[in-house]
C-alpha cells in the first residue's frame, strides 16, 4: 500500500502533469502545423492588437452583450473558472506538498475560506449538471459525454472536501482524491477541456476578422 501511495503521490503526479502540459503542447503544435499547411490565410488576418482586444473584452465580467442575457449562468461559470484554478493552486494542503518536494512556496488561502470556495465549486458543478437536464436548448445540445466531463471535474473537489474534513475512511478518500485529480489532468488534452488552450485562439481569430478586416466589434 505504501508503495502504491508513494507512486501516486510521486511519479504519477509527474506523469499527469507531463501528459497535461505536454499533451496540450502536442495538440497545439499539430494544430498550428495544420493551419500553416492548409489555412495559412488565418495568419494574414490575425493581429496581436485585435486578438488581445477581443480576449480582453471577453475576460471583463459582464462586458459582452451575451453574458448579460444569461447573467446567472454566466456569473456562476465565470466564478467557477476562476476558482477551478485558484482553489487548487492556493490550497495550503497542496502548497505544503510543493514545499516538501521543491522547497518553494507561495501565499495560501486560509483553510476556512478555501473550504467555502470548494463548496462553491461543487455547487456550481451541480448547477451545470442540472442546467443540462432542464434548460431546453442546452438539453438539446447535451450528450452523455458532457455529464462525464462534469463528473470528472466534480470528483477531485468533492473528494478533496471530504478528505480535508476527514468525515470517514480518510486514507481511502485521500487516495481517491489524488487519483481523481490526476485523471482530470490527464483528460485535459484528450477532451473538450482542451478549450482552455484552443478558445483563446478561436477568440483571437474571430476578434481579428471582426476588428481588423470588418472594423466591427465582436462582443
Amino acid at each position: 500500500m505504501n508503495a502504491f501511495i508513494d507512486f501516486i503521490m510521486g511519479p504519477m503526479v509527474w506523469i499527469s502533469f507531463i501528459i497535461f502540459i505536454g499533451g496540450l503542447g502536442v495538440r497545439a503544435a499539430g494544430f498550428f502545423r495544420e493551419i500553416k499547411q492548409k489555412e495559412s490565410y488565418i495568419f494574414s488576418y490575425m493581429t496581436l492588437y485585435h486578438s488581445l482586444r477581443s480576449i480582453g473584452a471577453w475576460l471583463v465580467t459582464f462586458f459582452p452583450v451575451s453574458t448579460r442575457q444569461k447573467p446567472f449562468f454566466y456569473g456562476i461559470s465565470y466564478l467557477f473558472h476562476l476558482l477551478l484554478f485558484a482553489v487548487p493552486i492556493f490550497l495550503s494542503g497542496h502548497v505544503i506538498l510543493v514545499q516538501e518536494a521543491f522547497n518553494i512556496s507561495w501565499p495560501v488561502f486560509n483553510d476556512h475560506i478555501a473550504d467555502t470556495l470548494t463548496v462553491l465549486v461543487i455547487a456550481s458543478l451541480i448547477f451545470f449538471w442540472g442546467r443540462r437536464m432542464v434548460v431546453p436548448d442546452v438539453k438539446f445540445l447535451t450528450s452523455p459525454t458532457d455529464f462525464v466531463l462534469i463528473a470528472v471535474v466534480l470528483l477531485p473537489f468533492l473528494t478533496g472536501f471530504l478528505a480535508y474534513h476527514q468525515f470517514f475512511a480518510y486514507r481511502l478518500v485521500m487516495i481517491v482524491h489524488i487519483l481523481c485529480g490526476e485523471l482530470m489532468l490527464i483528460m485535459i488534452p484528450f477532451s473538450r477541456f482542451s478549450h482552455m488552450m484552443f478558445a483563446p485562439f478561436t477568440r483571437a481569430y474571430t476578434g481579428s476578422e471582426f476588428g481588423n478586416v470588418r472594423h466591427a466589434r465582436d462582443w
Binding site: G30, F31, F32, E34, I35, Q37, K38, E39, Y41, I42, S44, Y45, S54, W58, P64, V65, S66, T67, Q69, K70, F73, Y74, S77, R132, V135, P136, D137, V138, K139, F140, L141, T142, S143, D146, R192, S194, H195, F198, A199, F201, T202, R203, A204, Y205, T206, G207, E209, F210, V213, R214, H215, A216, R217, D218, W219
Partner: protein, 449 residues
C-alpha cells in the same frame, strides 16, 4: 400583428423543391460519403476541428439567433443546434448519412440560417457558426442538392456573369435609357460607359437594371450634381452581386470577383463605389477576393454609405430640405457586422432626416432582416416559413413607431418589405439613396464650378 401562432415553421422532413428532391434521388450512398468527406477533411482543416471540439455546448449562442427567438426558443434553431444537426453528425457518421438527413441539412443550412454572424458575437470562444453553415452549403453544392431558385441564380452568374440573366445589350440599353431620361431634367448628365482613367467605377447589382432602373437614374443624378468623374463598365463585371458565395459554389464565386476587379483594372479607375448592397460588399471585400488569392481587395472599395458620407461632408452634395417623417435605420449585417459602417450610416441619416429613432438592438447587434445570406433567394416555396422565422424582426420594427424604414441594402429591402406586408406594419422601406435623392439639391453641374 397577424396571428401567426397557428403557423409553424415547416417540419424539417417535408419535401423540398424539385431541384433538391431530384438531386437527392440521383445521389448514391457512395457519392454522399465521398462528397461529405472531401469537404470536411480535404477542404477543411484545423479551423473546423477547433470549432467542433472546442464548443462546450453552453447555449450562450441561442439568444443571438433570430430563428431561435422567432420560433419561441425552439431548441433546434439554436446556432450550436444547427451545427449539431449537420456537421457533428456528418463527422460522427464519417459522411455515411441518409437522404432524409441531407434533406434536413439543406433546409437548416439554406433556410434556417442567414449566415449573419450574430452568434459569433455571443459565443465566448468566437466560434464561427456561419462558416460551418457555409461548409454544409458547400457539401450540398457538391452533392447537387442546392435549392432550385438560388441554384438558378448561380446558373445565371455562371452563364452571364450577372445574377439576373441580363444580356450584354440589355445592360447597355438600360443605362442609355436612364441617361436619356436624366438628360430631360439635367443638361449634360452622362452615364459614362468605359471611361478609362475615371476616378470612380460605379457598380450595381443585377436587379437594378432588371427592375429597379430608377436607382441607376438616382445615382446618375447624384453623380452629376456632385460633379463626380465616374464610369460604369459596359461589359460583364458590372454586376458585383454573388449568389454563388451563398451556395458554396466557390469556383464561380471566385470567377465573379475576378471579373469584377479585372473590369476595374481594365478601366484603370482609382476607386470602386458600390451601390447599396450588403452581400455584394461581403463578396468583393472578404470572400470572393480570398478565393482568387487577394487577401484584401486590390482596389479601394467604397460602399454607398461611405460614399454618401463623403459627398455630403465635403459639400459636393448639399441637402435642400431635410426629410421630416419619423425614420428608423436598419443596420444590414454585411455592412455593420461586416464592415463597421453603422456609425457613418447614422451620420448620413442625421444629415438628411430631422426625426430619427433607433431600433433596439442596433449596430453590430441588430437582427438580420431574415432575407440575407441567400435565404430569400431560395425563392417563393419558402416564403411563408421565412415570415414565421422573422417574427422577432417584425416586433423590433413595430416597437420603433417609425413611418419610414431606411434599409441600405437590396436584400434587406426586399425582406423587410415582405415582413412589413405580412405583419401589416405601417411602414415604408427606403434606400438611403432614396432619402438623399428626395432631399438633395439637384443642381445641374457646370464644369469649373
Amino acid at each position: 400583428m397577424q396571428d401567426t401562432s397557428q403557423m409553424e415553421t415547416k417540419q424539417q422532413d417535408e419535401k423540398m423543391d424539385p431541384a433538391v428532391e431530384g438531386g437527392l434521388e440521383r445521389l448514391t450512398q457512395e457519392k454522399i460519403v465521398k462528397g461529405i468527406n472531401q469537404v470536411l477533411h480535404e477542404e477543411s482543416g484545423a479551423r473546423l476541428k477547433a470549432y467542433v471540439q472546442t464548443c462546450m455546448r453552453c447555449g450562450l449562442c441561442s439568444d443571438a439567433c433570430s430563428y431561435f427567438l422567432s420560433n419561441d426558443k425552439n431548441p433546434r434553431f439554436s446556432p450550436a443546434a444547427k451545427v449539431k444537426q449537420t456537421i457533428w453528425e456528418m463527422l460522427e457518421k464519417k459522411g455515411n448519412v441518409s437522404k432524409d438527413f441531407l434533406r434536413r441539412a439543406v433546409r437548416i443550412a439554406h433556410l434556417e440560417c442567414n449566415v449573419c454572424r450574430r452568434c459569433s458575437m455571443y459565443c465566448p470562444f468566437g466560434i464561427d457558426i456561419a462558416y460551418m453553415m457555409l461548409l454544409v452549403r458547400r457539401i450540398c453544392h457538391k452533392l447537387e442538392i442546392t435549392p432550385q431558385y438560388i441554384q438558378d441564380t448561380v446558373n445565371s452568374h455562371s452563364a452571364t456573369l450577372n445574377q439576373m440573366w441580363v444580356k450584354e445589350d440589355e445592360w447597355i440599353d438600360t443605362l442609355q435609357w436612364q441617361e436619356e431620361d436624366g438628360r430631360d431634367e439635367f443638361e449634360n448628365l452622362r452615364i459614362p460607359l468605359d471611361k478609362r482613367g475615371a476616378d470612380i467605377m460605379y457598380s450595381v447589382i443585377a436587379p437594378e437594371p432588371k427592375f429597379q432602373a430608377g436607382l441607376i437614374y438616382q445615382a446618375a443624378v447624384m453623380m452629376h450634381a456632385a460633379g463626380v468623374n465616374w464610369t460604369m463598365p459596359s461589359r460583364p463585371g458590372w454586376d458585383n452581386s454573388n449568389m454563388a458565395m451563398y451556395t458554396g459554389d466557390n469556383e464561380i464565386s471566385g470567377r465573379i470577383t475576378r471579373t469584377f476587379y479585372e473590369a476595374a483594372a481594365d478601366l484603370n479607375v482609382k476607386r470602386i463605389v458600390m451601390g447599396e448592397c450588403g452581400h455584394a460588399f461581403r463578396s468583393i471585400y472578404d470572400v470572393g477576393n480570398r478565393w482568387v488569392s487577394w487577401a484584401m481587395p486590390p482596389f479601394e472599395v467604397v460602399h454607398a454609405i461611405a460614399f454618401y458620407h463623403e459627398l455630403l461632408t465635403s459639400g459636393r452634395l448639399t441637402i435642400k430640405e431635410k426629410f421630416t417623417e419619423k425614420v428608423t435605420l436598419h443596420d444590414p449585417c454585411n455592412v455593420s457586422r461586416g464592415r463597421g459602417l453603422h456609425d457613418l450610416a447614422r451620420e448620413v441619416v442625421k444629415m438628411t432626416c430631422s426625426d430619427f429613432v433607433e431600433m433596439t438592438p442596433n449596430r453590430e447587434h441588430n437582427y438580420c432582416c431574415g432575407a440575407g445570406g441567400g435565404v430569400i433567394n431560395c425563392g417563393p416555396p419558402y416564403k411563408t416559413e421565412r415570415m414565421v422565422n422573422n417574427r422577432v424582426k417584425a416586433e423590433q420594427l413595430k416597437a420603433t413607431g417609425a413611418k419610414v424604414l431606411i434599409a441600405p441594402c437590396h436584400n434587406c429591402h426586399s425582406g423587410l418589405e415582405d415582413i412589413i406586408h405580412h405583419y401589416k406594419l405601417d411602414m415604408d422601406v427606403k434606400f438611403l439613396g432614396d432619402i438623399i435623392f428626395e432631399t438633395m439639391d439637384k443642381k445641374v453641374y457646370v464644369p469649373g464650378e
